[in-house]
Point group: C2
Chain length 222, copies 2
């Protein structure tokens, strides 16, 4: 007699994906373009979000869902300070956001008039990769001091991303970083990913990133 | 009638802790001092390991267990190149090492004559925190470009560590970093943690770290 096996992890992922699909449909119908922004701790997600909100100011309205493992809400406060609608999600120690957490945050946000929703995931280069959050695009934020080997060492995270931002290029004179090796690692995993070298400190390169976002918003948010 | 609840996670953690205690006893009996080295991706664990092996060369023998989420074994190879006994553990996507993985690695390593075992955990500031690996000390490697807010944002990882290395101090002229705020965040979680600002690029500050390791080894490895 064969024993029936219940794959709990598989069922959880299926439930997550089905909720994520509902969220994506709802966002599309409401003309909100949504991005799942993922990165290692300290790569500069929050700084990029600040630059993005300021850069789109007067043209587009932005909302932020900020995931953290604790009650520390300083990132959401930074986004709010520069003019975005922001909400903080405490994952209670969980190492990634899941679709149900985004769904709860959406219940608490009024997205009318919002063009761009950035979901700032937990700072982590392993756990967020398998979890669809119902966004239209996944974006990875890397940074020069992390080193150029990261696409090779964290391939699950670097796979399936629509754009990679490589932040802190102002540190290139002081840190060894082989940009060609980094690009090749990304291109081997995703032939069509857009790569944006930029600095949130100096502002260099930020416009190309904003233009990419604008093209996505023109399609999804009108 | 009350329903019986089985706490799978709790049982897994108990099994891990019991195996970790066995590993620690075995290492102590064999006069090997062991460190669980944890960090965000790109903080410089492998560079610190290279500096440590070179700095102890001729005085102490070092072995490395290098945890990665994939088959990419470049970190273990770097350690081997500078003279350490090294083994690579592929966690198969798992976001942290567990005691049974260290146990398997120890079965494959001949530790006779080894004074220091460094277990290089998966680059991650969330998941490794709850898992005792059977080492004597937990060390966290942070880096200047990550920002001074990390002890406040990842308190589970910064709790219970015996030492914090703050790497890449050569970048202090180019990156805003409030060392006092960083130190206060660590001290609020662990009043007795040793903090070592250093640069694996220039070598500045590395000696104080080596002296700390030497004091631990004098106690455990003789």
């Amino acid at each position: 007699m064969t024993v029936k096996t219940i794959s709990i992890q598989e069922n959880i992922l299926n439930a997550n994906d089905s909720l994520a699909a509902q969220i994506r449909t709802w966002l599309t119908e409401n003309r909100v373009f949504a991005v799942n922004m993922m990165a290692s701790p300290g790569a500069g997600k929050t700084s990029l979000i600040e630059r993005t909100i300021s850069g789109l100011s007067g043209k587009r309205r932005v909302a932020i869902i900020n995931g953290d493992t604790t009650a520390a809400s300083m990132d959401a406060e930074r986004a709010q300070k520069v003019g975005a609608l922001a909400i903080h999600v405490n994952t209670g120690g969980n190492c990634h956001l899941e679709a149900f957490m985004v769904r709860s945050a959406l219940d608490a946000l009024d997205l009318s008039g919002i063009d761009l929703l950035i979901v700032e995931n937990v700072g982590n280069l392993v756990c967020p990769s398998g979890w669809d959050l119902g966004t239209h695009r996944r974006v990875l934020v890397a940074s020069i001091p992390e080193g150029a080997d990261k696409p090779y060492k964290y391939p699950s995270m670097y796979s399936g991303v629509s754009a990679v931002v490589i932040n802190k290029v102002d540190l290139l004179p002081y840190v060894p970083f082989d940009m060609d090796y980094f690009r090749k690692g990304i291109e081997a995993l995703n032939p069509n990913t857009a790569i944006f070298p930029l600095s949130c400190t100096t502002g260099e390169g930020v416009n190309a990133w904003l233009e990419w976002l604008e093209r996505q918003m023109a399609f999804y948010a009108g």
